[in-house]
Amino acid sequence: MPDPAAKNPDIDPAIDAAVRAWSEREARAVSTHPSADDLVDYQEGRLGGSAAEALRRHLVRCVSCRQELLSLEACDQEQPEDRAAGPTAEDTERSWQRFEKLRAEARHKAPQPITSQHPQRATAAPAPRAATLAARRAPSPRPPSTPWLLAASITLALAAGAFLAGWLLGHDATGQESVPGSPFIFDLEPAGSGVLRGAVMVPEIVVPPGMDPLVARLNLGDLREYQAYWVEIRSGERQILRRMGLSRDPAGSVAFQVPRSALPSGTLMIRLFGRRDGQPHELASYTLKLRFDG
């Protein structure tokens, strides 16, 4: 069969015009963009399956993300000026000392900003944790932006001290040392970006005597904004124990607290929902075993 294009030089420009029209239409439909983490994971070949396919489709439609990806490719190549523009040994030594100081602060003090020059990019110290569920990647350090969260972080720092003492005495690695009257705080971590999946295991969380209430936190990271959030706690028999509205702080975290007396020992299901355009969406689901000591 003869190639029609060979007889009609207008055909390829017409194809190009149709492709451009398609691209423009598709670009207008793009409303969200992949997180920096996902983009780098894709570029480095660590994003697989449907997530990679979805990102590939996005890249075909989104000029800005495509440019970001191509710039990441370019940045992987070492440049001749790298050596000349590199840091001196003295710079690195100062940098190390600064890092050591910040690391110590992050571990032992209340949250501190990384730099006073850029307070808007302040980074919080990681709060000590009693339990972490399914952390797929290192979560972004974020500042606590609600007063009670700040208070909780300080309480956690105290609890961490008690935890350290308990560990040295051979206590369970996942438990907090009992500080009667203190909240028992644990983090629920996103297992993925975009859509959060359930934990891959069912951990047991042991609540020491006297610690009340239970506070669960979840950093939603770069997950898109929803108009409203709520959490549902069910027993192992699927009975709803609690349902409460949540607010997401500017740093992307949500948290909720439940009195010790409101929860039974045993299996619990925690499901987080968001509402957008009037439709509920399940954002995360965790199953865990709760055991009250004492």
Binding site: D16, A17, V40, Q79, G86, T92, R103, L164, A173, E189
Partner: protein
């Protein structure tokens, strides 16, 4: 001490670590701490990170800020057992550095990008005559009708193309080189060339044949 989650050796400091339950790692460094970033590790990796972050368009004091963010993020990830050892520790750290730099760049460029997006939107929503590129400056009415028909034909054909063929064609028309298309789609340059050629061939077959006796 028993190792409920299996014993591992810290690639940074060489100290044996013990995995605890619920992905919490306990080591001799302290409670909740996994691998520890050592001085030597920091000194070895910082120049590499510095160059990478600079190449990503971050400049001045901000490079140091991103480096600090990176190492703190890394240490936090190590503390939480996020390093799964599927790659080397160095590779993992450089990857985190890249992510932090990209996030930093996104923050700084947000306002500018919004401006660019607005202009892109404006360009996309403008009623630029698509036929202008395929017709003579002043085509006659019959020619315009014929061109519209061809465009509709190709638009339908494009929708019907499998994505594996449509994607490289769309990127080629967007002005990317075959090498860049390969990077975006994660396929070889040779495969890009082949798919673009096949996609065009499939669409060309849709074009109406010129009438017999036409000058072309």
């Amino acid at each position: 001490m028993p190792a409920p989650g299996g014993a591992r050796t810290c690639p940074s400091c060489g100290v044996e670590n013990v995995s605890g339950r619920v992905r919490t790692i306990i080591t001799r460094h302290g409670v909740g701490t996994g691998y520890e970033i050592s001085t030597e590790h920091y000194r070895r990796l910082r120049p590499k990170l510095y160059a990478l972050i600079r190449r990503m368009g971050v400049g001045g004091q901000e490079i140091e800020d991103v480096i600090q963010e990176t190492f703190l993020h890394v240490q936090r990830g190590l503390d939480q057992g996020a390093f799964d050892e599927r790659s080397s520790l160095d590779t993992w750290i450089v990857s985190i550095g890249k992510k932090r730099a990209l996030k930093h760049r996104r923050r700084l460029a947000a306002a500018k990008r919004r401006g660019i997006e607005r202009s892109l939107d404006a360009a996309a929503s403008s009623d630029a005559p698509l036929l202008a590129s395929i017709t003579d400056p002043r085509p006659g009415p019959e020619q315009r009708v014929a061109d519209r028909q061809i465009l509709r034909l190709f638009a339908r054909g494009l929708e019907a193309l499998p994505e594996t063929f449509r994607q490289p064609l769309v990127l080629q028309v967007a002005g990317l080189s075959y090498q860049e298309i390969g990077s975006v789609l994660g396929i070889s340059e040779g495969l890009v060339t082949s798919r673009v050629h096949q996609a065009r061939a499939k669409l060309r077959r849709l074009a109406p044949r010129p009438p017999r006796g036409s000058p072309n």
